[in-house]
Symmetry: D2
Subunit: 257 residues, 4 copies
């Protein structure tokens, strides 16, 4: 699995936790094109989108249950052993559980609510904890940084919407974690950022048409394009520590907010 | 246990989840004085502070592990059976676990982090869920309300501080839940509010001196007085639905914020 | 003009700047009923609503252009001379100019934009400045306070809506002022608060029917009742300094936010 | 004055309002290097920093009092006539008046307070109004945008600090304006953004040493580097409309927030 792309190494190693075809895939492609070694961790690392990324861009695939402390610790151990300490870690797990999403509180199953929090927020805690442990033992780069940790979030991380109490809990918990870590780790040289996406995410499929997960429209701009989101992640990673951004919410021009 | 105070009934029933000597005890005393039937649920309902409340104010004591769905469901079943559906429910559980509080992320134990979230935030989900189920089946009162659900929160529910990632997660999760429920339940006639206390809480002991939990000072105003906090809870409960407040942060005059 | 109500004096003096039939009139009535001397300042103090308040509740009426430094200074001079230093000052001027409100930026007249800011926000600066000057020379009351300054605000003070750039500027400016003064003056014993009303305000007319300014509905709860708003102002004024609230947004139960 | 740099034109025209040696100069240099025609408007366009930018980068200099409607209208007329409609407009005027900054409310001169608001916020209204008028008559570029309007702001635009009530008003007013315009203009194809800088700004002088305005330290990273800030402005301008950022706060790694 530990395949590296050709011109990698000098630009560091990126680890993307979450293996979907949207933001994760866009980040993997962009970071690889920019010369970084790229590893992607997913619950199911054998799905087609990841295999294609391996074939086309030399992405390394890893299995991980990000809501398990042991699994996350093992993931970082393998990635560090294979590619060195990652200096860019992206936590891109949404965590929502379909059977509870958009349910009223009286209809929301408590076990699924807890699972939502474990998937979406607790996994961010575990990933950030391992990332910090390894980054703190590393060197400062030429921008004065020991590394970058980016959390993807939803608008539910900023505003709690009705009929999604459990998802609001998970997303807000992630916001609280990101803020706490930004204040704790920035003075230690680790750039912590969160990017709330205030829209459904869309992406290009192999045939050029646009895929999306949850919306009825297509071929227009009411979805947040995952390739564009990846561009912001790269920009954040490259910021000089004199001017670090913590939070950048992204939304389509036609979004009502 | 199902003891009622004398002039209770016409003013409804209050259920306070969390049995500490600060906000919970102040609320219990004030609500009882105002003529409400008051029930307090605590992990350890036999502690002195609660027994004294029972003796002095007729408070009913209940055992409950608020992070357990089954335990919370049973609690509401008993309270409703004993005193009718509560029309004021206060979730006043802090949830912090001493062995992880103020620890850096690299030193924070993952199991304790999850426990912090379960104690502080998941319990709020469980309590609000049962409260909603029962309140929705009730009547509108003369202020157009089916009931009030109030969450005590900490300033960590608004701002994530360093060295307390897990606590920031729990408190922010509670904020997200409260916002989601406010938007979901207010149009159904349930007033949802959260009160972040931006300070340590102080209270009067039996001998009139001021007790506190975590700060080195005493006899001055840099602690939020729990009796004063209870006054705001009562005011929120009595608001007409034409002008409901969702969030009221309280802090001492000398607090730096 | 300097008429005082009968049981006033021991409860202090309230000065309400802005003389409309909604919040200002409700505050005047409530504060007078609670035993305070009440003065109301308005651009046109001879309008019927204020004359009626004078007749029914002994409210003292004053003329003032609150956007003029000189006029505000004279107002406070007269009020202090007539009734002593006010320990509760309410700034209740909306400031919106009809000919610019709800206009797109390209259609918004710059002079009216500046007028909106002067009316709504600069007047708050002038009023707060004089209030502070006088309060700081006064005594601490039994709640440890030298006085309370409350700013009414609109939801535009928290969120900038389209087609109302000038109003968003004025309301946000007021929020910035209120925050700055809260942090500056609370440690000196002056309670500063702002109350954003997230709805149109409704009030009862003499015949008991409900009046309103801008909405097409009536006889229901989608307006914020001005009498209820006044209750919150009184509660804020009476808070002990150990637990001061800075911001309390009020909205009807059916409001979308 | 209407000198253009060599490879300009295809990348559009940028107009920077405010002519200081920090963010404005950094933006002018960066935008010119990227192939844009760059115009800078200042109250005193003959100062050395701007003449040097003209000589080195072909920047066009314009005189403008940005707090005067007439002057701003004339500025846009000239710039459009000389270089075409600008598709990137930066409002970079701080507006603070030294004689009132850091003064307590009781010591703050009301005339200077109003001047602070006129300089910092009303000028933003005037500039945005003219920018919108011209941009709306233009074409969509290949990113689906009619143009970008960026407001520099201070942390006082997000949080009101003590002893700076007038500055808090001006900065918050700018935030309110920016939010209102973002919601009004984004659906029309104009990207509106604000960038609060949560620190003093530092910049490189001609001899390579770092200059700054207000802080006692030097040669380290506790100032926000103006060249880095300009990079974010360029990134914002280049965002695809599917993923526009509205607000990006920038702060040094060691900043306490």
């Amino acid at each position: 699995m530990a395949i590296t792309n050709e011109n990698a190494g000098s630009k560091g190693t990126a680890l993307i936790v979450g293996g979907g075809p949207g933001i994760s895939a866009s980040c993997a492609r962009l970071f690889a094109k920019e010369g970084m070694i790229v590893a992607v961790a997913a619950r199911k690392p054998d799905k087609t989108v990841l295999k294609t990324l391996e074939e086309d861009f030399g992405i390394a695939r890893y299995q991980c249950d990000a809501s398990s402390d042991q699994s996350v610790e093992q993931l970082f151990g393998k990635v560090v052993s294979d590619h060195g300490t990652p200096n860019l870690v992206v936590h891109n797990i949404d965590g929502r559980v379909p059977d509870i999403f958009r349910k009223e509180i009286t209809e929301a199953d408590p076990d699924l609510a807890l699972q939502t929090i474990r998937n979406g927020a607790y996994s961010a805690f575990l990933v950030a904890r391992q990332a910090t442990k390894h980054m703190l033992s590393g060197e400062l780069d030429d921008k004065g940084s020991r590394g970058t940790i980016i959390f993807t979030n939803a608008s539910a991380g900023i505003k709690g919407y009705p009929k999604s109490g459990a998802f609001a809990m998970a997303c807000h918990a992630k916001t609280g974690l990101a803020q706490s870590l930004a204040r704790e780790l920035m003075p230690k040289g680790i750039h912590v950022a969160q990017v709330p996406i205030d829209a459904a995410v869309g992406w290009r499929q192999e045939d050029g048409t646009r895929a999306h997960r949850r919306m009825g429209t297509d071929e227009n701009d009411n979805l947040a394009d995952s390739d564009q989101i990846a561009e912001m992640y790269l920009h954040l990673h490259r910021q000089h520590r004199s001017t670090w951004a913590f939070e950048v919410a992204l939304r389509p021009w036609v979004e009502n907010w």
